[in-house]
Subunit: 154 residues, 2 copies
DNA sequence: TTGACACCCATGAAATCCCATGAGATACCA
DNA sequence: TGGTATCTCATGGGATTTCATGGGTGTCAA
């Protein structure tokens, strides 16, 4: 498996540790990596994660020097600056940085959500809310579409 | 690890010493270097740093087509001319030059921010401001994009 | 001589590693 | 097909090491 797929809820212990779901772990271990990179999501109240190869690729894609006039890489710099390398312990866990947990509202449980090449870690309740909100938006969009092309659908 | 990733805040003691974060130290030590090179940032109110090797590379690997109108050699000479070598002490610390500290507004704490091939040292509050400003800019850009597709702005 | 600077060691806190345990799922065998 | 053995995985706690930080001493230069 080479993509992050599915949702898994694991416990966060007193030390801030959480087990990375075995399928996710295998995605990064298959690349020969011994840990993941975490960074606060720029758009959602959650932590984002990926193999740290992705971060290093991001860093290497930047121009060799910070010269005036180049602001297109603002996002990359923001991610690189806030990212954090988190190695697996013997049991396949990582330690969630405290400030990341605070930003994502994480306390005792974390929901890993696969996003393909990356994944997110949500507070389970917040994830449910966000997903419900997205469903409502989709339903509304569909209704709006049907309204224009015929009667109210089922 | 071969790139500077993440943010770490350390204390500056009365002697102007500050611990270089262990992950950053390992990046340069992996290259066989026993210290780092510092120079005032040309674009931000902070100190910039990297391995000594990068300064040497800078003198040679200047593309002449990156920025039309900007004298690349001038920038290189500026960096090379102002850069200072700062060796690690036994505990992995460096001594921040006083004039650099003044330019960056550093007093009692310094925030190391990874930038991939290099890193920066900020006054923590100034860093927070700069990052917040950047986030606002990104959010504004995103809003501008969404406006085209019908969302009522906040 | 006096100041600045580099090197040394000490210490507490925090992060990391290690092993143990139990539950659940799977595979295997009768 | 039912039951059992095995394995993986998630979790808990303790021990060890690393790291950041503080201060002292020696050395060199002005």
């Amino acid at each position: 498996m080479k993509t992050f797929i599915g949702t898994f809820v694991n416990k966060i212990d007193a030390k801030g540790r959480i087990s990375v779901p075995a399928p996710f772990r295998m995605v990064v271990q298959a690349k020969g990596l011994a840990g993941i990179a975490l960074y606060p999501s720029l758009t959602d109240p959650c932590i984002e994660g990926c193999g740290l190869d992705r971060i290093e690729t991001l860093a290497e894609s930047l121009p060799d020097d910070a010269l005036p006039g180049v602001k297109q890489d603002a996002i990359a710099h923001l991610i690189i600056g806030t990212a954090r390398e988190t190695p697996f312990d013997g049991g396949g866990r990582i330690v969630l940085p405290e400030d990341f947990m605070a930003k994502a509202g994480l306390t005792d449980k974390g929901a890993f959500v696969g996003k393909g090449r990356s994944f997110q870690i949500w507070e389970p309740a917040a994830l449910a809310d966000a997903q419900a909100a997205m469903m409502r938006r989709l339903a509304a969009a569909r209704r709006a579409e049907l309204d224009g092309s015929g009667g109210p659908g089922t």
